[in-house]
Amino acid sequence: MSEVVKVVEKKAIPSDAIMLYGLPDVGLVGLIATSYIISELDFPEIAYADSDLLPPVVVLHNGFPHAPLRIYGGKNLIATISEMPVSEAALHPVMRALVDWGQSKKVKMMISMGGIPVQNRQDIKEPKVYGAASSKDLLDFLHKKEVAILKEGYMVGPQALTMRFCVERNIPAIALLAQSFYNYPDPEAAAAVIREVTRIADIKVDVSQLLEKGEEIRLRARDIMKRTQRELTQMKKSQEYDVPYVT
């Protein structure tokens, strides 16, 4: 396991679980989706990530300090969130450590949730979700679940590294990405991703509360979105708009 980033366990970690990732990225789709799942399923914090590469930050909730990058868990599910964007400089070691840790806990699949920025997002009522997978079997599985496949294109950021490290370690991995705003928190896109996750991970999460609280979420998420925008520029996230040369 990576020594630069340490995962500190606080409670018993479920084995054979599905591990969800929701780190700040375009539209904060993954973060909004994962934190909603954690809240709906009432998961406790089971671990957190510690590293000198991360800024000197703690988040206070109900008066208690928490590490910004935390792991929650229930019976069959582990969910990772970060309350601050992970900088480009720290992203590789952080994602590597999380994937290594998940492997050591015998996670059976890793699912990254996020967004695909689309310029006409205002005109889209129900964001479409696209999937990418680490193996042909998983692509077939997504196909059977009627998830549209992300056939060609670039992935940049946390989900790109999760996918890469999972392929290297032969861990089944899926990325579920909803059409979303680039710069603005997108609870509707998060709801669209959750709907797909519930079909894949066999969990029950009702997204009606998330959609009802959409405005409140957008107000609350302004600051973390602003900080995330800066990191997205640093990691050249706009490359996701590019057309790959080799097909």
Binding site: Q122, D123, Y184, E216, R222, D223, K226
Partner: protein
């Protein structure tokens, strides 16, 4: 004695452009690097998330404006290259609404100033509000055509 207007040399024009670019770079640096809160207690305003997109024909400024009625959005041209967006909120917000108890203050509007990076016809500005996002379309000023020989 009549004073004739001195014709500017190409170097003077270039120097002016460089100075404009430097001023723009300074502003950009300040807006991205200087840490400041996204709220202002004196004006009771929150700063909305904004972005500027420059295309071949127009500049599109967008702003995320939750908790507002589109009728209460005001867009003002402060200068040829600066617009101010103000939007009164449907209900006032307090720090307590975000669970913050160590600060006091209330917010009744969103306000931001956005610099337009290229010359535009501000009088031909068009707006729309969809899915909580304000879009301000500003057509770019046209230059002159260069004939291809």
């Amino acid at each position: 004695m009549s004073t004739r207007r001195k014709k500017r040399s190409i170097f003077e024009i270039m120097r002016e452009h460089v100075e404009d670019l430097e001023a723009f770079a300074d502003e950009l640096l300040e807006s991205t690097l200087v840490e400041r809160p996204s709220w202002d207690l004196q004006s009771c305003c929150l700063e909305p998330l904004c972005s500027v997109l420059v295309s071949a024909d127009e500049v599109v400024v967008t702003a995320d404006l939750p908790n507002i009625d589109p009728k209460n959005i005001k867009i003002e041209a402060v200068r040829e290259d600066l617009i101010e967006i103000t939007a009164k909120m449907k209900r006032k917000l307090h720090f307590e609404d975000f669970g913050i108890t160590h600060r006091q203050g209330e917010f009744s509007a969103f306000r931001c100033q956005t610099r337009i990076p290229v010359p535009v016809n501000i009088k031909q500005m068009k707006t729309q509000f969809k899915r909580g996002i304000l879009e301000v379309h500003l057509p770019r000023k046209r230059g002159y055509r260069i004939r291809i020989e």
